[in-house]
Amino acid sequence: MKYKGWLLPPALRDFHEGRIWLREHSPIAEQDLNQAIERNYFNIIEGIQQTPHLKCNRCHNDNPQQFTTFDCSKCRQLCVYCRHCLAMGRVSSCTQLVVWRGPRAIRPTRHLLAWTGQFTELQQQATDEMLESVKVKRSHLVHAVCGAGKTELLFPVVHFALQEGLRVCIATPRTDVVLELFPRFHKVFPRTTIHALYGGAPQQQGYAQLIMATTHQLYRFEQAFDVMIVDEADAFPYIFDETLKRAVHKAKTAEAPILFVTATPSQKLLNQYQNSSYSFIPKRYHNHPLPVPRYSSLWGYEKKLKKGVIPLKLKKWTEDRLTQKEPFLIFLPKVELVDIAVSIFQALHSDILAVHAEDPERKEKVLKLRNEEIPGLLTTTILERGITIKNVQVAVVGAESSIYTSSALIQIAGRVGRNIAFADGDVVFFHHGITVEMDEARAKIQYNNKIGFSL
């Protein structure tokens, strides 16, 4: 039943524009949603497409292994659902996805960029090049070493796009990075509505012209963004999941450029952009070289740790940090080793803590290290990127392990010496044998230093 006097609630449009959403999960009052559907404000799409082949219309998964068929009590027939994007609310044959096609939300074109920092010459050049690419809607790769001031680099281009009335997304594979970026952008763009989207994020009000999201959240958007920025493009799990790449493309408009920003671009990305639209910042903003990792053999470390003994060199390294009061991170290749090691290290100093991916107190513990409340942290690769701690010293134990790709090692080394007052520091690869990845990481860091200081 249509009733006169129904006005489209702005909140409905603000929320649904650009999103592909489960009808039954809309945060909008059901009555309003039904009215809007009746007035053709939405495209209604079946959750699972059967022909020409099985495909989830939300996440675009089409791997037959990731679908399950069952006897559905709702539609009373055989029903198929997608297990790939299950955590965002199940999409099945009998669920409907709604895509807004009504009038567009109002996009303000006056945005304040409240930032007074100064760019180095290299940074300035990179931002100019990015702007140039965005103006002609061309995708672009920014290759900036750890500590080059990657986030600041984005300010001018984001500001430009917002002023043009474009909708911008900054996507990153990791929730930690979203949580780190959001307050910084919030401060710099005080008049802009920004939403931060990640698993478990709170409901946020209004229409966000700027969105920071984990790449997973992009499944829930469709042709929404006019500029797509992919931060840490190489980070786990982005490189492993083809569907996440498809999500990036699906979430943006057809002609929207993608800006890739990373310290460790894959060879594929380099090949694609190096000769066309590519900015390279081989030097840190503070004009000091990147700390070069040193090698130190630590034979049989795993056995020793499991026996409850810290290998001698590692013990000495840790004690040196403690006496010199330098905050430290010790990376271990397995969660189980972190669990074993923490109690042994606590014998050296009772305040040493451990973190891993599933640790709910991860943020608090990192904060404690930053605030100098604890001397050091044992960690898995989860802390390889995104964190900045003044004067931090880093040891990678078991640097030969296969999880330490050259990119991971470069990112880990990139934690050190980021602060201008402590521009140097120790990065040590404790190993049980030297790998190609270790050598590659060190060679790339040395190469960047060479290029950076020959310019």
Partner: protein
């Protein structure tokens, strides 16, 4: 539901493929979760339940019931089959209220048995769509019966086995047992997936 899993249903790790002769000879289901995930579940010491409630089980129930991942009905199919294959008495899974079942799109208890290829019957229906967990203990003890007999079914003078997911206060199973006994059952036993 019958397809062979190549990846662990819980952690998506690639599954070590078992030689097919083994599953053929022993008539076992091929594994659908990895060894690591399997080891997180804790067997119950009780003869009337398979598992203890723990973090792994909490995650499992969340994904199975709340996220509606019907595929997870297969996770315990081997253990359930081993438990029930020699069962002589008819098995009755605790039913859901029709509205709840439509909302969840499946009956989680029936799907567990279907996945294990265990035949079952249904004699009961739920009279209320309210959940037990939304009530406090007193309310739970005082509620009128949660079940009634399905129209036009007969309860024979024999033993029945009720099957539920988790036993906390026992109210659900007690109510179902009473209805069956009143209708003429000789005896009612119960078995749960999880010890509360």
């Amino acid at each position: 539901m019958n397809k062979k899993e190549t990846h662990c249903l819980l952690c998506a790790q690639l599954l070590q493929s078992e030689p097919s002769w083994k599953t053929l000879l022993t008539k076992q289901f091929p594994p659908c979760i990895c060894k690591k995930c399997a080891s997180r579940f804790e067997h119950a010491p009780s003869p009337t339940a398979l598992y203890q409630y723990n973090d792994a089980m909490k995650d499992y129930l969340h994904q199975y019931k709340f996220l509606q991942d019907v595929a997870l009905a297969k996770v315990f199919r081997q253990e359930l089959q081993d438990q029930f294959k020699h069962e002589k008495s008819p098995i009755i899974p605790i039913p859901m209220h029709p509205l709840k079942q439509k909302e969840r799109t499946f009956s989680h208890m029936e799907e567990l048995l279907k996945a294990a290829k265990i035949p079952y019957i249904q004699l009961l229906e739920k009279t209320t769509a309210e959940t037990q967990s939304s009530k406090n203990r007193e309310e739970r003890l005082q509620t009128a019966s949660l079940f009634q007999l399905l129209p036009s079914v007969t309860v024979a003078y024999k033993e029945y086995v009720l099957f539920d997911d988790i036993q906390t206060t026992g109210t659900t199973l007690r109510h179902a047992t009473e209805i069956l006994l009143q209708a003429g059952a000789k005896n009612v036993r119960s078995f749960t997936l999880i010890n509360g």
